[in-house]
């Protein structure tokens, strides 16, 4: 009898201790989805776009310069005396859908784009290994030809890209960019209207705000046999609302059809241009989100 009572006593003590559950364990959420954020610091990798889109009601002012060739030497201030400019505005219509407009001094080209984030990398309740953004742009070359009139249609070219990226760790992200460009008109010296290829690039984050970026676009079909693949390498410096990108590249144009299909300098032969992109984010409509 004593034994039974003693054991029941022990069991009851154990029961009341067990009743004080691990409270934190009750809050475990197996279905919580963690979306990957900030695969890249900004919306541009270097010359081309990254998978990043600006959130709703955010507007970015982006100013880009590509200077002359470094080989110009001290007399040309290593290319700084000549520069091509692109001034653009990017706008977040929604968190996933961005639009943009820009004007390039190179060949006085206007460009406009649409960008849609189709997939967002995530883990946890929903597993998505990559982020994917669809990109399309239209470029209109308005540089006049002194000899003849050019119709509107002849000035236009279209670019299409699928940007696929994965943030492997907080310090390494990698992106591939299948690219297709269509030129409405080509000159007799140019070989084909449809140019396509594959780009690849990535970033290594060196500190919270500084990263090293590299980007390479390989042309499978070229516009002429004198165009080179675009290569760029540079640093991203993020300071609150600004992203400063400083780079070296062989491309002088800052829109897709320009740098992908029309690069006439060979990076690996030393025809390198220093350049930068500066983007500044503005939050329009600052009501509580």
């Amino acid at each position: 009898m004593k034994k039974i009572l003693l054991t029941s006593l022990m069991m009851l003590i154990a029961l009341s201790a067990y009743a004080q559950d691990d409270l934190l364990g009750m809050l475990e959420d197996k279905n919580e989805v963690q979306y990957t954020k900030a695969t890249f610091k900004g919306t541009r990798l270097i010359n081309g776009h990254s998978v990043e889109t600006r959130k709703k009601n955010t507007m970015d002012l982006i100013i880009s310069h590509r200077f002359g060739e470094l080989s110009g030497g001290a007399y040309e201030l290593f290319g700084l005396d000549q520069s091509n400019v692109r001034i653009g505005l990017d706008y977040g219509v929604s968190d996933r859908f961005n639009v943009g407009l820009g004007r390039n001094s190179f060949e006085k080209t206007f460009d406009g784009y649409l960008k849609f984030k189709l997939l967002q990398q995530s883990k946890g309740g929903k597993n998505m290994p990559v982020s994917m953004t669809l990109f399309t742009s239209m470029a209109i070359k308005t540089l006049k030809n002194p000899n003849y009139e050019i119709s509107f249609k002849e000035k236009v070219s279209y670019s299409y890209q699928m940007l696929i990226a994965r943030k492997f760790s907080s310090s390494f992200s990698f992106q591939i960019m299948p690219t297709f460009i269509h030129f409405n008109t080509i000159t007799p010296e140019q070989d084909r209207n449809d140019i396509y290829g594959l780009g690849a690039g990535g970033r290594i984050k060196l500190t919270q705000r500084l990263s090293l970026n590299a980007e390479y676009y390989y042309q499978m079909k070229t516009l002429t046999d004198q165009t080179f693949n675009s290569f760029a390498i540079g640093f991203d410096i993020e300071t609150g609302g600004h992203v400063f990108q400083l780079q070296f590249t062989n491309s002088q144009a800052m829109n897709e059809k320009g740098f992908f299909a029309e690069t006439t300098n060979d990076f690996f032969n030393g025809d390198i241009h220093f350049g930068f992109n500066i983007s500044r984010s503005f939050q329009l409509n600052t009501k509580k989100r």
Binding site: K2, L24, K55
Partner: protein, 184 residues
């Protein structure tokens, strides 16, 4: 014979105690809002979240609260991105957690405002700090709610503020929590 009575007596007492604790039960957070505010000469930063999960066991006088860091909403989306990417490092530390004990005289069956002392481990950015402060538990018409205000020192949790923006972010952040409690 006497020892048998003693054992039975103890068993009955223990029974009533453990069943009592099961009966008093646990309360979970519903309709919660956690708001934080950083005030400096240059810029005010604030954000709130309504996704706090929490459980308070009034019988055991214990509690556990958990917030997914990405659920804090800021007026500026880029600020929200930097909060997670540069400061909280939410990919490494997805949650802020507070667990511990509640001390104080409390009668959940009687309407009133009860001041309780909350003591426990506040873990933010992977770094735990022992904290204690007051909270008010209000019982009104059968509804229970909790309200508390406290401060968090950013450096306590190894959150780095770079010199570029040190004038924009306060060293001590004001935090406010308000929630309804529902018995589970």
């Amino acid at each position: 014979m006497k020892t048998q009575h003693l054992y039975i007596g103890l068993i009955l007492i223990l029974c009533s105690l453990s069943f009592n604790s099961l009966a008093q039960g646990k309360y979970k957070l519903t309709s919660s809002k956690v708001h934080f505010f950083s005030e400096t000469v240059v810029e005010n930063i604030e954000a709130y979240t309504q996704k706090t999960q929490g459980v308070i066991d009034f019988a055991a006088n214990k509690f556990a609260f958990k917030i997914p860091n990405v659920s804090f909403k800021f007026e500026k989306s880029l600020m929200q991105e930097h909060f997670n990417e540069n400061y909280m490092e939410s990919e490494k530390y997805p949650h802020s957690v507070f667990t511990g004990a509640i001390e104080g005289d409390l009668n959940l069956k009687k309407d009133g405002e009860y001041k309780v002392a909350v003591k426990g481990d506040l873990k933010i950015h992977g770094v735990s700090k022992n904290r204690s402060f007051d909270a008010i538990i209000k019982v009104a018409g059968g509804k229970v709610s909790i309200h508390s205000e406290f401060k968090v020192t950013v450096a306590d949790h190894k959150i780095k503020i770079p010199s570029v923006v040190f004038m924009n972010i306060a060293e001590v952040i004001d935090v406010q929590i308000k929630a309804d409690l529902e018995k589970i």
